[in-house]
Each structure stands twice: as structure tokens, then as C-alpha cells.
């Protein structure tokens, strides 16, 4: 047999027992040719373009899934940031635009549509201001639309006016979706150095430097890495790194091939494969458990940041060896509510928001899916965002914040968002005020890129 039994069985076990999947195939569609001064025509244009490009996505992805026998969980669309393409509308009705995106997504049966976004890392145009103020209502009146705002960058610094505004926007979004525990905030990400080809939600958008239409894939597999490490007998950290690299290599190869097949069958350009360990609430599919497999009693114990740094770096190295088209975020995600091991660590007091913040300086995203008390002031939320942005800007990496101030709930209460979003306890935040600092506004200048001590 030119394939060994071990090779075949290893792949089968990864899927059967270890939750290996392609988390998402995301089609990026440029909407740059949809602009029109009239809102109504603009909406017609984007509906038509999304449906025309995306109508075959779901059936083709399902075909490829059956062809290779590898689960492909989500099918998604990302579009050019709406704040840019709607800028030329005379009286833009952003809520109507969001609803149009939602309808288009439902028409072609995709799980999410991203790109209800703005890039304001250096400043806000009049259009950006109108766009941002529409986010709460837009997210409250749609199901599949995801929003992101890039408020900081290493070359631009941190736009503190936007940071301050986003604190209020997050509060308002939570308030408008309070009957579902503020779930609107789970569809809103604040970024520093946002990548333009990320296939993962809620932060996916189709960057302005991208092609007309591309296929990007997000491959995941925390369960596979977790199992691989637990099979090692008393390994050194070097051996652990080696094992993660090999595993990451294999799952990236698998993901790239499936995504290329989708792009070939659709006749759409292939973009990137994003190898990111994205946990799910399923048993064993946890990034926290990988860190614990390295020898930490609980995720959050001292040493967690070092263990995560090792993991993130090894995942990237394995992925880069496997494919010349690695992009997006690529690394390890640490969303609290979506990871059973993280939830346990929070519940027993091992993991705090401060430790999570430190962890984000070495992993691929940021403070993700963190539920905080409903009465957290907007300025405190802005303070958390500002800290997270500073980590990204200074370290020349992407960071993000996806925070949910759950209306009516306090620290220790439980919240359940359902599905892949999971649930968990409300985490405590500092009770000391950030208000004066946030109120100052303006811009924190771009950092120096030498003398990096």
C-alpha cells in the first residue's frame, strides 16, 4: 500500500476523535464597484454582487467536504469595509445596508458575513463617524452581520477618539441586544493592525489591496495538538515544540489542499490559509488544555505566557513550512467563552483578565469573547481596549478586543451565548476609573521602531 495504514488511521482519528476541521471557507468579495450616491441603488448593487459571487459557495464547499471526508464547519463571506464603499452615499442608511448584507447572506445560506467595518487607525472621516454610530442598531437588527473597527496601527499609533467612542458603542450594542445577554457584542471586534485577509469572524473583511474575489480558509485543530502532546512520554519543551510543528504542518497541508479545490471548482482565486488553533466548547478542543498538557496545573498559572508563546510560534512555523500562502491571523486563539478549559480556569480563579492581557502579547489575537459585568463604565471598556491596542502597536502585531458587558449581570454570574460562541462566567474588571485618561482623546503617536528594549 503506497499509503501506510498508520497514515490513513492518523488522519481518520484526527477527524473522528480530535475534532479536526476546516473551521471556515471564507469568500472575500470586493464591493468597490458598488458605490452609488443613492442609498437604495447602493444596497441593490451590493446585494446583487454578493449573491452573484457567492451563490455557489455553500454547495461547492459541501461537495469538497464529502470528497475529502474532512468537515468544513462554516461558510462565510467577507466584503470591502462598508464605511469605505458607502462613503459616497449622500444620505447613507447604514442600518439598511447591514440588513441588505444580512439578506444576501441568508439568500446564499452562508453562516456569517463580515466587513461591516471601518479603518480609522489615524483619524475619522465624516462617513466613518456616521458608520460607527450605526453599529449598535445594525448589529441588533441583523443576525449574520459581523463588524470590526481598526483603531490602531504600528505605523499610525492609537486613535484614542475612536477608542473612547468604541467603549460607548460596545455598551450600546449590549443594551440593544440585552434580551440575548448582549450577544451583539460577540459580533463586534476592535483591532490594532487588522489583517486584510483574515477568514475568521467576527473580524473578517476584504481588504482594499485584495483581488476582486478570493477564497481564504481557516484551519483549526486544538484537539489534534492536544492529543499529540498527551501521547508524548515526559517530553522536553523542545520536543513539545517539534511535535506541535509537525501537527500544524499536517493540518495546514490538509486545509490548503481542500481550499484550493474549492477555489478551483468555483473558478475563484485562492487567497490564504490561516492556521489558527480556534477552540470550541467541544470536549478536548481547547487551547487551555494544550497549555495544561505542557505541565501547568491550570491555564493562568505562572508560566502560561511562556507556554502560549511556545505554542503560537510552533504553530506558525509548522504552517509556514506547509504552505507558501499562510496569512490571516495564524497562531492560537484564546477566546474565553468558546474554550471549556479557559472557562474552568476562570471559574477556579486561576485565570484573570490581567493574565489574559499578558497572554495576548504572545498569541495571535487578543482579549476575545470576554464577558464583563453589565455595569462596567464605557470608559473602563475603552481602557481595556486601549491597553490591548498598545500591546499590538508596540509589538508590531495584530491584537483585538471582543468584550461583552452583559446587561444585568455581575461578576461570577453565568452567561450562555450558545453554539460556537459558548458561555461562561462574567469576569471581574478593575473598579478604579480610567475616565479622565480616556476623555483626553487625540492620538497616541506611532512608536519608534528602533531602540526596542
Amino acid at each position: 500500500m503506497y499509503l501506510t495504514s498508520e497514515e490513513i488511521m492518523q488522519t481518520i482519528e484526527m477527524v473522528r476523535m480530535e475534532n479536526l476541521d476546516i473551521r471556515t471557507i471564507t469568500m472575500g468579495i470586493s464591493l468597490r464597484d458598488c458605490s452609488n450616491p443613492q442609498n437604495e441603488i447602493f444596497c441593490e448593487n451590493i446585494f446583487e454582487k454578493i449573491v452573484k459571487n457567492g451563490e455557489k459557495l455553500v454547495p461547492v464547499v459541501d461537495e469538497v467536504q464529502d470528497f475529502y471526508g474532512i468537515p468544513i464547519i462554516n461558510k462565510r463571506i467577507s466584503v470591502t469595509p462598508i464605511s469605505i464603499v458607502a462613503e459616497s452615499c449622500k444620505n447613507p442608511d447604514f442600518v439598511e445596508i447591514a440588513k441588505t448584507m444580512d439578506e444576501a447572506a441568508k439568500e446564499i445560506n452562508v453562516d456569517f458575513i463580515g466587513g461591516f467595518s471601518a479603518l480609522v487607525q489615524k483619524g475619522l472621516t465624516n462617513g466613518d463617524k456616521r458608520f460607527i454610530s450605526s453599529i449598535p442598531e445594525s448589529l441588533a437588527s441583523t443576525e449574520k452581520v459581523c463588524s470590526s473597527v481598526n483603531v490602531a496601527g504600528t505605523k499610525s499609533g492609537i486613535n484614542m477618539d475612536a477608542v473612547s467612542e468604541m467603549g460607548k458603542i460596545i455598551k450600546k450594542t449590549a443594551e440593544l441586544t440585552k434580551n440575548k445577554d448582549g450577544i451583539g457584542c460577540a459580533k463586534l471586534v476592535i483591532f490594532a493592525n487588522a489583517p486584510e485577509d483574515n477568514p475568521f469572524m467576527a473580524g473578517a473583511f476584504h481588504g482594499v489591496g485584495e483581488a476582486e474575489c478570493v477564497i481564504n480558509a481557516g484551519v483549526s485543530g486544538p484537539g489534534v495538538v492536544n492529543s499529540a502532546l498527551r501521547r508524548l512520554f515526559n517530553p522536553t519543551l523542545g520536543e513539545i515544540s517539534e511535535e506541535i510543528k509537525k501537527t500544524s504542518f499536517k493540518i495546514t497541508r490538509m486545509g490548503e489542499m481542500a481550499a484550493r479545490e474549492v477555489s478551483k471548482r468555483l473558478g475563484v482565486e485562492f487567497g490564504v490559509v490561516d492556521i489558527s488553533l480556534a477552540p470550541t466548547p467541544a470536549v478536548g478542543d481547547s487551547v487551555a488544555e494544550i497549555l495544561e498538557a505542557m505541565g501547568l496545573e491550570k491555564c493562568g498559572a505562572h508560566g502560561t505566557t511562556a507556554a502560549l508563546a511556545l505554542l503560537n510560534d510552533a504553530v506558525k512555523k509548522g504552517g509556514l513550512m506547509a504552505s507558501s500562502s499562510v496569512g490571516g491571523l495564524s497562531g492560537a486563539f484564546i477566546p474565553v467563552s468558546e474554550d471549556a478549559g479557559m472557562i474552568r480556569a476562570v471559574e477556579c480563579g486561576a485565570l484573570s483578565i490581567e493574565k489574559l492581557e499578558a497572554m495576548t502579547s504572545v498569541c495571535s489575537v487578543g482579549l476575545d469573547m470576554i464577558a464583563v459585568p453589565g455595569d462596567t463604565p464605557a470608559s473602563t471598556i475603552s481602557g481595556i481596549i486601549a491597553d490591548e491596542m498598545a500591546i499590538g502597536v508596540i509589538n508590531n502585531k495584530t491584537t483585538a478586543a471582543r468584550l461583552i458587558p452583559v446587561p444585568g449581570k455581575k461578576q461570577g454570574d453565568l452567561v450562555e451565548f450558545g453554539g460556537l460562541l459558548g458561555g461562561g462566567p462574567i469576569m471581574s474588571v478593575s473598579s478604579f476609573s480610567s475616565e479622565e485618561f480616556i476623555k483626553r482623546g487625540g492620538r497616541i503617536p506611532a512608536p519608534v521602531n528602533s531602540l526596542t528594549n
Partner: protein, 92 residues
């Protein structure tokens, strides 16, 4: 002419007639077995096959449905996957 090869894996509790049932169904679909291995690990029956499918008139989803059905009868899990996924994952 290029013909596609699929890896067919059968996993489940051992019983009489699994190999016969599965291969009978494969022949109905004119799937030619070019490699076959079968082992028992404890009570767990594992069979790995590589089947070459006819270049015309073969509908993968029909074959997969038929295999799933035969799997149900014999209480085993049957997967039909294109060989490339294994080759690409493990070989450079």
C-alpha cells in the same frame, strides 16, 4: 485517462460478513479494489481499502450513501475519502 482513487475505511465491532457485504456493494458500483488491509485490534475491526472508481457514470454521493447504508446493516462506520487528502497530509 485519469481515474480517481478513494480510500475506504471500515471501522467497527467485528462480525461475520462485513468484508463480503462491503466488497459486494463496491462491485455493484464497479469500484476496483487495488489494495486491501484488514486487522483486528481487540474486538475492533479495521479494514482499509483503496478503490479505483470508473471514469464515467460514477456518482460519489450515491456510492457514499450506499456505503453508509451497508455500514448501518453491519454496525460499522464506513468512510469514503479521496486519496489526495492522505497523501497531501503525510507526504511532501
Amino acid at each position: 485517462m485519469k481515474t480517481d482513487r478513494f480510500v475506504i475505511t471500515v471501522i467497527g465491532v467485528d462480525a461475520v460478513g462485513i468484508v463480503a457485504g462491503v466488497t459486494q456493494k463496491m462491485s455493484e458500483f464497479k469500484v476496483n479494489i487495488i489494495d486491501i488491509r484488514q486487522t483486528l485490534m481487540g474486538d475492533i475491526f479495521t479494514m482499509l481499502m483503496i478503490g479505483e472508481v470508473p471514469s464515467s457514470g460514477f456518482v460519489l454521493s450515491d456510492f457514499q450513501d450506499a456505503m453508509a447504508e451497508i455500514g448501518k446493516i453491519h454496525n460499522v462506520e464506513i468512510r469514503v475519502q479521496h486519496e489526495d487528502i492522505f497523501r497531501h497530509m503525510h507526504r511532501i
